[in-house]
Point group: C2
Chain length 353, copies 2
């Protein structure tokens, strides 16, 4: 397992009673993890980078871990993730493991150019990915990942028309609730905006349900999809947790992705995922520069009607860091999008507050 992409390996939990427990330590260390979780009802995750072997040790110690170590093992290695999706009969871009520049050149001959070279472990928001446009770029691309543990794989380029996402939540009994498909707009490889409705085919939901079954997920699964020019849909990747593409569900749906994740991992009945509104738009708020964790423009953002503002309370802004998001809801997608964008644009991190 490579080093965690997060700088602080800190375990924390919200207890039944007010007040949280916090343990500073390495969450990939089984002993620390088991000591932390010993008397909890359930151990769950808000990111997928806790080593599956540590989670398996927690399970062996009798803890309830949801999603399970087996699910995490099949997802956190992206090559195994792709293999699992393909084995379930779900369409994905062509892929194969690679180790050398020669492997890359051979993949280009098989899949066509460009290729996307990826770390098998630890990547997110475009980190750990690199586009390789032609055979000349093969050796430098391999060299760029030299020393990174966990190995590499490569995917063929999916010439997609747009990116979609579907949140599903699955319980221990295999019941699944599915949120409606949304359009996700990326900027610099980071989710920038999410739009409901998006007019996606029902097939998007069917695919997301089958992905949840393929990984035997218990809890939330974010399923990122490519809609190709011909309307067909490929799975890009999955994340076994509440997902940025589902933040809109807080305001827009009867039961949010967060509540349904908690219901699922606790073995409680799943809630209704239906939308309460005709249209919702979520816009991420990223810092433009390093600076304090408080934004300028708060009053201006809150003056936009019908917008819910979520600030994450991070102590400091760093250029490109997600500091919060805004969600607008209403009847008309274009009008809703205009409000969400206006509120997000008003918030400025990194220039003092």
């Amino acid at each position: 397992m490579p080093p965690s992409p997060f700088s602080n390996a800190r375990l924390s939990v919200r207890r039944r009673s007010p007040g949280a427990r916090e343990t500073a330590g390495d969450w990939d260390d089984p002993e620390t993890l088991v000591r932390f979780a010993r008397d909890l009802d359930v151990l769950t995750l808000d990111h997928e980078f806790v080593d599956a072997a540590a989670l398996a040790a927690a399970e062996a110690a009798g803890l309830r871990v949801r999603p399970s170590a087996a699910t995490l093992r099949r997802i956190q290695d992206k090559l195994v993730q792709k293999e699992t999706l393909a084995a379930a009969g779900l369409a994905v871009a062509p892929f194969r493991p690679v180790a050398t520049a020669a492997d890359l050149v051979a993949a280009g001959a098989a899949f066509g150019w460009p290729l996307v070279l990826k770390l098998r472990r630890g990547g997110y928001d475009g980190r750990g990915n690199r586009v390789v446009h032609n055979p000349t770029e093969a050796a430098p691309a391999i060299a760029a990942f030299a020393g990174k543990p966990g190995g590499l794989y490569v995917e063929g380029w999916a010439a997609f028309r747009r990116e979609l996402a579907v949140m599903v939540v699955r319980d221990d009994a295999g019941q699944i609730v599915a949120y409606p498909p949304v359009l996700t707009v990326q900027r610099d490889n980071i989710c920038h905006e999410v739009q409901l409705p998006c007019g996606a085919a029902d097939e998007a939901v069917t695919i997301a349900r089958r992905a949840a079954e393929a990984f035997a997920v218990v809890g939330a699964l974010g399923v990122e999809l490519f809609e190709l020019m011909d309307g067909s849909i490929l799975v890009n990747e999955v994340a076994p947790r509440p997902h940025n593409s589902g933040h809109y569900t807080i305001e827009a749906c009867v039961t949010s992705q967060f509540e349904n994740h908690v219901r699922a991992v606790l073995g409680l009945p799943l809630g209704d995922p239906s939308p309460r509104v005709a249209a919702a738009v979520m816009v991420n708020v990223l810092a433009d520069a390093d600076g304090p964790g408080q934004p300028a423009g708060l009053a201006e953002a809150l003056a936009v009607p019908g917008v819910a503002l979520h600030l994450y309370g991070k102590a400091a802004a760093r250029r490109g860091r997600k500091m919060g998001h805004v969600t607008a809801t209403g009847d008309d997608l274009a009008e809703v999008a205009a409000r969400a964008r206006a509120a997000a644009a008003a918030l400025r991190f990194g220039e003092g507050a």
Copy 2:
């Protein structure tokens, strides 16, 4: 100031950054209060029992206190509260201060029987109130409050048809947003159920706005109203904080009472209080007996569709203690009420979980 009706005088605050500050001490002690609040942006309250003199000391130390000490001073003494409402031209039941049984008998002669004898300070949920049905009960009633500090007053009986409430939120500039009137159903002097819509006259909102102005409230004000047999409306009492009758706004309105309270006390623009749904019903969940803080029936409650469950995380249940509430929303009031009541009835505190 009499002893606080709450057993633990504990000050706490949610900081900008994750993690809360907590000071154990007497919140009526100005020195403790100022030390606690020294570097906060604003000091606000979630109940009205912090001594106005302590808040005035905090203001004198340069702290921003919202609602202000002056507002609290006029509300926490219920006789002064009634005088303020009457002086603003708002209709209230007849009232006067009393000290002796003879005073009570004289009030009965003036207002008619029964009377409601009340502690001027510290009462809530019917505590500190006593109905006096006739002159014979006057002496025992006075004796029942012997030794309670702060004095007594008496009100004439308001023969109301039903009880209503209106939440308003006022900012420093005097702008007010008003939530729609709701019907409140009391049981054993405690709010049991809240229903939207309730068909109340627009006058209810006008009265609530004028009450917020009369007390110069900054933040939320819960205005409890009596609708009399002839349709006229009296003010019962006010509470300068988010209020049980406004909990339904979390799910049912564009901006909740909690968010608008925070916006107001921070000097940020107020949000839209409009309902997002045609009907909402909130039912309080009280413990039937002493016991653990975890309820039985959680899965049963969550199996009711379209209900939001709020558990307060209290460590222990005591008979009659508010442990949480449920809110259902939808199109039809009767159908929504049935769902809210079913979910609330499923939750059982005090019988082990």
